[in-house]
């Protein structure tokens, strides 16, 4: 089969009921069903609309700064002595992470639908900042739900959102992290759906979100494909990315799904151990269940109650995962592994020293696995790692972990 720059991914999944195999669907209160129908309808219309695509591409190029480089990490490659390592530099996007690919798309969609108010949930605050940014640029009212615990861990991002004119609403229920912020945002949306668009930040939630967010994030994989063909004349052997909800990883993986020679590895948060509440490695240790409107792997107890989770990285500290990942796991198309807090911290520092790039703690999980995995491969092999965001936001937390006072 001839390899083309354009991915041949047959976009047949999800099916019309929002299913990736048995995963996905819609498990939400009746109040939201008409809103999801409307959203799906409007999104599918926009997707086929050349003007919408043109507008989105314009902002991605001129405002976000795309395409992001596919950078050959020469020193890291040499140090590790195995496969050639390329980093997809999503940290160089405006606002410092891949999240803005999705929020630009969804804000443009909200404008098309005539919705004047934007809400979002955020964990690490990157999605919140990306939402606040897009909303500010288009002059839309914006409110972001954030767990109190995360606000504490990511106070810099809270301040950035406020500077951008967004109201940050602290969530004090449950574990006070991303899952609770998601609950609150869904509740808000139920009462405000007529004039509000809810921008989910990952490939989770009820249909059409996992599909729509994936489509907006696929720019990562589409660019990677063109760039690697240009640099190496062939497709990579391995793709690696961190998986919390799973949006940067699905964005990288999806355009390669039909290319069976390209293997995919998702790296989850192993936290501090294998016990309940010590990690957030949903695909590695979870079971099939329902959370936040879709059927997927979930970390829950024998009754179906959501388990507590832990990751040093707020962006991965989530007990669920996108349904398409569950499908990729079940079909064996992708493989999922986990990396601990400590290991991620090690990769965080190594990447800074070897490449002059301070990666987000989230991405450091994928980087750590790469440092173990790349040396086991021959020098002719090609590995692409998604560097999903910058670690500037993590500087305080890492300093604290290393016992350094700033």
């Amino acid at each position: 089969m001839k390899v083309t720059a354009k991915p041949s991914t047959s976009q047949i999944l999800p099916d019309e009921r929002g299913r990736f195999g048995k995963f996905g669907g819609r498990y939400v209160p009746e109040t939201l069903m008409p809103a999801l129908d409307q959203l799906e309808h409007e999104y599918l219309k926009a997707k086929e609309d050349k003007d919408f695509k043109k507008e989105l591409n314009y902002y991605l190029r001129e405002y976000v700064g795309r395409p992001s480089p596919l950078y050959f990490a020469e020193r890291l490659t040499r140090e590790l002595g195995g496969a050639k390592i390329y980093l997809k530099r999503e940290d160089l996007n405006h606002t410092g992470a891949h999240k803005i690919n999705n929020t630009m798309g969804q804000v443009l969609l909200a404008r098309r639908m005539g919705k004047k108010r934007i809400i979002a949930e955020t964990g690490a605050g990157q999605h919140g900042v990306a939402t606040a940014t897009a909303a500010a640029m288009f002059g839309l009212e914006c409110e972001v739900y954030m767990g109190e615990e995360d606000m504490h861990r990511q106070s810099l991002n809270v301040f950035r959102m406020k500077l951008l004119g967004t109201k940050v609403i602290p969530v004090k229920t449950g574990s006070r992290t991303l899952k609770d912020a998601t609950n609150e945002a869904l509740r808000d949306w139920m009462a405000s759906v007529k004039y509000t668009h809810y921008i989910i930040g990952s490939v989770v939630g009820p249909h059409p979100y996992p599909m729509m967010v994936r489509d907006f994030q696929c720019i990562i994989g589409e660019e990677t494909r063109e760039q690697i063909l240009e640099k190496e004349g062939r497709l990579p052997d391995y793709l690696l990315a961190c998986v919390g909800g799973g949006s940067n990883s699905i964005g990288l993986f999806h355009p390669f799904i039909d290319d069976t020679t390209v293997k995919m590895i998702g790296v989850e948060a192993g936290g501090i151990g294998l016990g309940v509440g010590e990690h957030a490695a949903t695909l590695s240790y979870g079971k099939v269940g329902i959370l936040h409107g879709s059927l997927s792997y979930v970390l829950q107890d024998e009754d179906g109650q959501t388990s507590p989770v832990h990751s040093m990285s707020a962006g991965l500290d989530y007990p669920g995962v996108g349904p398409e990942h569950s499908y990729l796991k079940e079909t064996g198309r992708a493989q999922y592994v986990s990396v601990t807090d400590q290991e991620a911290l090690e990769a965080f520092q190594r990447c800074a020293r070897s490449e002059g790039i301070i990666p987000a703690l989230e991405a450091a999980h994928a980087l750590y696995y790469t440092t173990k995995f790349a040396p086991t491969l021959g020098k002719e092999k090609l590995v692409v790692v998604c560097l999903s965001g910058t670690g500037d936001k993590d500087a305080f937390q890492v300093a604290d972990k290393l016992g350094v006072k700033i």
């Binding site: 498990y27 269940g289 329902i290």
Partner: protein, 269 residues
């Protein structure tokens, strides 16, 4: 015949709407729950809606979420809720409908959940995060056991969906009075009467209204147009006020409120 159907038949003969209070199982303990069910029946409740606590409820407001949290923080298990209902069945025949997240129903299969619930003595369930499109498995399992799956209609529901839901629901139809989540509200929405009339044209099943009913006056207004008046947050809130008091005081306080609401719902204010 299922206790829910029997109850509505009886109420129809008496030309009375049903009063359906909601309480959270295990809030703050199951002994209170047991006492409350009996007390509410004594005060004139017709059906009990029993919330099975879930860690991440999205359809419920802060009052009910807090009650779930109180129950779960003591390690409440679904099997203990079933055990409590099984015990109650030695003392009362009041219809009890569970309100339960599909996350809990799905875990360990819908068939298994329905079988366990029915065996414990529950008469049906409302599953607020399960839209009609995804409900085939649970409806199938429920039909076999004469277990009623009560479906929801919201003010945002389109006419086509409304008629599909009206056909699918069992026992009664749950009309969500306001757009949003459960909670206590000042006024009832003006489109309530109109929407209930519309639904009555689509189904013979009783229509109960909930989400936002909190005072006896509101209960009366709802009782005049609907076949059932559901009161949730107001009751849970009353219980919350007495949560640090002895169980007997808690139960008596909720009972007093229930008496006033029953009087409202049945037009005896």
């Amino acid at each position: 015949m299922n206790r829910i159907d029997q109850k509505f038949q009886e109420l129809r003969r008496r030309k009375e709407p049903a009063f359906i209070p909601f309480i959270t199982a295990g809030d703050p303990d199951l002994e209170t729950t047991r006492g409350l069910v009996l007390e509410l029946e004594r005060r004139g409740a017709d059906i009990i809606e029993l919330g099975i606590p879930f860690s991440d409820p999205i359809a419920d407001g802060p009052i009910i979420q807090a009650s779930y949290y109180r129950a779960l923080s003591k390690g409440l298990k679904v099997s203990q809720v079933f055990e409590c209902v099984r015990g109650l069945r030695k003392e009362t025949d009041i219809p009890i409908v569970a309100m339960v997240s599909y996350s809990l129903v799905f875990k360990g299969t819908p068939e298994n959940f329905v079988a366990r619930a029915k065996e414990a003595g529950l008469d049906g369930a409302t599953i607020p995060d399960l839209p009609i499109e995804e409900s085939d498995a649970v409806h199938l399992a429920a039909k076999e056991k004469d277990f009623k799956i009560v479906c929801f209609v919201a003010p945002t529901t389109t006419p086509e969906r409304m008629s599909r839901i009206a056909k699918g629901t069992q026992g009664f139809l749950y009309y969500i009075a306001v757009v949003g989540i459960t909670g206590v509200r000042e006024a009832l929405p003006p489109d309530m009467r109109e929407n209930i009339q519309k639904l009555k044209g689509m189904t013979d099943k009783p229509i109960a209204l909930g989400f936002g009913v909190s005072t006896p006056e509101q209960a009366r207004a709802v009782g005049q147009v609907a076949d059932g008046v559901i009161v949730g947050s107001a009751i849970v809130k009353e219980l919350e006020r007495y949560v640090d008091r002895p169980a007997t005081e808690r139960i008596a306080a909720v009972g007093e409120l229930a008496s006033r609401l029953v009087a409202g719902a049945k037009g005896r204010l």
